[in-house]
Amino acid sequence: MEALKQELKEKIIAVLNLEDITPADIANDAPLFGEGLSLDSIDALELIVLLDKDYGIKLTDPKEGKAIFQSIDTMADYVTTHRTK
């Protein structure tokens, strides 16, 4: 699980072009949206593409993303139970 969390942080930083941010800057339970990384609606859509591309998870309703992308913890939980690759 810790390895997956580290992997998710690295992927998020790369995919969302978060310059000057390292995995160590992202706490597992910190909110990804709102304050903190100040991600926006396009970032949320990009994370949906990431789930599809790297873990074979298809989200068709962007609203589902809200709960899944709350934090690295919630994202890792979701990936673990739903991944197809």
Binding site: D40, S41, I42, L45, I48, V49, T60, D61, P62
Partner: protein, 383 residues
């Protein structure tokens, strides 16, 4: 070289001969009559462009080629070029324009011949090249002006033409707008999770997003009243300065654009006979428009979106909808907003549910798009 200034803000600019090319027909009259009978061009499609079936409003290429054969035997034009030429052809023929260097040619599109990139033909995908091709067909003499300003492009083109004519740079202008349904735009809107899984339903409670469409529209702009179909009274194109893909939650840019257009037109909001709004049927766009129109005290003015008939034709939509708006004003018709059932925005707006007759002296055309852009134009009856 004209560096001399000529300020003639009060000079009247009119729309003249126009034409539209859509799946509902290749003439303004034909299209308008289909709208009155409630016909929609949106249908279900299933092909390699999308991983699943989708709805879109698409022009039949066999019919297009047949119509095109009447104006040219040259087969070396793309689908979009044929649409644009067919749109312009009657406008040029009826204009009586001298087509000299003081005749502006303005082309508006978002993606032009983008499908040329599938064959890695970057030159063909260049928008200036598209404009040169169309200008060459009609032997326009002035340097083509291309506007690519997302979904406001079509109506912005008309506003720009008016401004250029008022400033004395040009005597008259041809404006053409067009865009296609392609794998490029379908996949993009789909990646935004913005596509409706049924024909789009602007302003309705159960709306789920956009239906894409393709069309071309052309309008001649003139200072001569004898050729006029409507007067362009005022316009504004103001940015939200809020987000590059999401519309402003307060409708700020649209509010300011309409305010600017009304101020220039010098008419009060209650004189507007109807609003031809943007109405893409995404949850955020329609809500934003409702907020902006209420801030402008336009909540009671009859309003429609034509996206339920034609889908969202991107860079063509603003000009296509303006041409229909002018026709509606002159015929005294309020066209129902197709796909509308139960109101689904938080502020009161007066969505036209049934076709109706009305005396219309003025109407407002608005559009909003990616990049936070908005355009509003006020049209008036020629009296």
């Amino acid at each position: 070289m004209e560096t001399k200034k000529r300020i003639a803000v009060s000079e009247k600019i009119y729309t003249g001969p126009a034409n539209i090319i859509t799946p509902l027909g290749f003439s303004t009259d034909g299209n308008f009559n289909k709208l009155l009978s409630g016909e929609s061009a949106i249908s279900r499609h299933e092909n390699s462009w999308m991983p699943h079936p989708y709805f879109a409003s698409v022009i039949d290429e066999v019919l297009l080629d047949k119509a095109f054969a009447d104006v040219s035997a040259d087969a070396n034009f793309t689908k979009l070029e044929k649409m644009m030429i067919l749109a312009l052809q009657p406008a040029v023929a009826q204009s009586g324009s001298g087509l000299n260097k003081k005749t502006a040619f303005i082309l508006s599109t978002t993606k032009g011949n983008i499908t040329a990139l599938e064959q890695h033909d970057v030159e063909k995908a260049t928008l200036h090249q598209l404009a040169k091709t169309i200008a060459g067909f009609f032997k326009f003499q002035s340097e083509p002006i291309v506007i690519s300003n997302a979904c406001v492009s079509g109506i912005m083109a008309m506003s720009v033409a008016k401004r250029l004519m008022q400033s004395g740079m040009y005597d008259d202008a041809f404006v053409v707008a067009g865009d296609l349904v392609s794998e490029f735009v379908l996949s993009g809107f789909n990646s935004f999770q913005a596509m409706s899984d049924a024909p789009c339903k602007p302003y309705s409670k159960n709306r789920t997003g956009v239906t894409l469409g393709e069309a071309a529209a052309a309008v001649y702009l003139t200072k001569e009243k004898t050729k006029a179909s409507a007067e362009i009274l005022g316009d504004g194109s103001i940015n939200d300065a809020n987000h590059i893909s999401g519309p402003s939650r307060t409708g700020e840019g649209l509010f300011l654009s309409v305010e600017s257009a009304l101020k220039e037109a010098n008419i009060s909001s209650e004189k507007i006979g109807f609003i031809s709004a943007h109405g893409t049927a995404t949850p955020f766009n329609d809500e934003m428009e409702a907020i902006a129109f209420n801030r402008l005290s336009l909540g009671q003015i009859p309003l429609h979106s034509l996206k339920g008939y034609y889908g969202h034709t991107l860079g063509a939509s603003g000009l296509l909808e303006a041409v229909i708006g002018i026709e509606a004003m002159n015929r005294g018709k309020l066209i129902a907003s197709a796909g509308f059932d139960e109101i689904g925005v938080s502020e009161n707006i007066n969505v036209i549910a049934q076709n109706a007759d009305a005396d219309i002296d003025y109407f407002l055309k608005t559009a909003s798009g990616f990049g936070g852009c908005n355009t509003a134009v006020v049209f008036g009856k020629v009296i």
